[in-house]
Symmetry: C2
Subunit: 110 residues, 2 copies
DNA sequence: TTTGTATATTCCTTGACAAGAATATTCACT
DNA sequence: AGTGAATATTCTTGTCAAGGAATATACAAA
């Protein structure tokens, strides 16, 4: 899994931005207004989100409209997939490990 | 979405720990050994993962066996779900927004 | 009860990063 | 060309978190 995606999403205000953009693309000023953030901070956060590939810019006149990009979300999704299988198949993996432990100890005593 | 989960996963070594525990529960020393990390750092990381609900401890003698917990992953999954719908339904939301922009500008000129 | 093993905690230092304030850049419009 | 609007960048400061080293705690076994 790409830690850059997670780092980008882990910051509260960036998460709010991402959740806002889930509704629609927005220009910087609009994001700042709706989330009650200062414009420079929004620009900085968008830079981080851009580098992580989570958003893309579309310049229209002086405005820069930011839009979510699916790829990182899909990657996160398929990473999660590798965990879903675990809950489904072996819910008893703790007991399994304890068994292994006991057997190891037997071997060591020999 | 809970930012604590994301913060916990965003740290590279913690992510490695989580991915190791995906295979099986392990005691602290075993985690340290397999990931070539120092024991105290592993304990600290596990504390963060515990507070986020990502792992649970099972004491066995002097050992403490750590095991993944499904809840945070499921929550992350259902959060991602809210994004999947977007890519499926409106791939053209940028154009939609541009239309809204134009209409707004018309109104302002009146 | 002492010794060894496994793990947790504390203290310290250092690096990263987020916010604030100020300034720079870009573009449209007159 | 000059002005205003939208956005980006820079600099500074404070905070937080990760690693290293040392130490504390818990338990087992002799």
């Amino acid at each position: 899994m790409n830690t850059m995606t997670l780092t980008a999403l882990a910051e509260p205000n960036r998460l709010r931005i991402v959740e806002l953009l889930r509704d629609s693309p927005y220009p910087v000023g609009e994001i700042a207004k709706r989330l009650v953030l200062r414009q420079p901070q929004v620009s900085k956060h968008l830079r981080v989100l851009s580098k992580a590939g989570l958003v893309e810019v579309h310049p229209v006149a002086q405005q820069r409209i930011y839009q979510l990009q699916p790829k990182p979300f899909e990657e996160l999704d398929s990473w999660l997939e590798t965990f879903r299988r675990i809950w489904e198949t072996r819910l008893d993996n703790l007991d399994e490990y304890l068994q292994e432990l006991k057997e190891q100890q037997k071997r060591e005593k020999k």
